[in-house]
Amino acid sequence: MANKTKELFLKTADVIIENKNYLTELDAAIGDGDHGVNLARGFKKLKDKLENGSFESRSEVFKLTAMTLISNVGGASGPLYGTAFLNISKVIADSRLDLEDLVEISEEAIAGIQKRGRAEAGEKTMLDTLIPASESLKESRDNNLDLDTALKNCLQAAAAGMENTIEMQATKGRASYLGERSIGHQDPGATSSYLIIETFIKNSLK
């Protein structure tokens, strides 16, 4: 599984790097205009490390990703994504993942981000993509949906969550400095979270 995971993160890195300017523009509107730059810096470094390394387990790849983002991103999203991936690395198995596993992984990621950022749903952050996505997975599990359907629903929930940040007022992160004036813009972190989820889901569905 280590190699598939490595490929997945190389793909994710490409998606983030492709969206560098888009993410940066979103952050310029309500933050300091560096979210794309930050993540691209971290994911470029990750690509180097992945391409030049060999890995034994999924967990190892997640851990490398976490540490690389923590060390290289430079913005709040560094510790936030870093802790999310680090938490996942602690629970993720090397066997085929079922819906129950995905629920656990999503909850670990959210717990990591909340540990670092102390935010709740509705504060206009990456959590507003991730929490609905996780909730969707739980619902699918409770309703015994098949994995493909569950992932499609999850992606939809993530997209809706991301879009819902437009109408939210930021109460965490730099966008919170803008108060009411943060309303009307999509949160950059919610957007990068969507891109990551999308890449994960599209590439595991294949």
């Binding site: 509107a29 933050g31 300091d32 205009g33 560096d34 709040a76 670092r116 950022g117 102390r118 935010a119 965490k172 992160g173 730099r174 919170s176 400095y177 803008l178 004036r181």
Partner: protein, 132 residues
Amino acid sequence: MVNILIISHSEKIAEGTKELAEEMKQAEVDIQVAGGTGDGQMGTDADLIEKKLKSMDCQDGIVVLADLGSAVMSFNMVKEWLSEDKQKKIKLANAPIVEGAVLAAVEASLGKNLEEVLAAIEKKSILNKNNL
């Protein structure tokens, strides 16, 4: 638009604060600095403060951030050299130089007026570092 003057004993602090605040601007706010003594020493340069205050657009007011007492003393003195009209529109903030400048850049660039910018940055909550 309210403009911003940052007065520090240290040129590095003044420059760095300006750069940090510039990042958060939502529109054109003029952020100027008067840092150090002019000959590379720690201190304040009254002439430089005067030059900056005279050259900056004061139409909607100027918020001044300063680090320590003697920067404030220099500023108070220079302020008295300006026209009464300008004096009324130039206000020293009781706010921390770095944190205050960043918030002031946001508020000013959102089109807030002088009193609003001051009110926003003089809040005690600016000291709470766990507003993540």
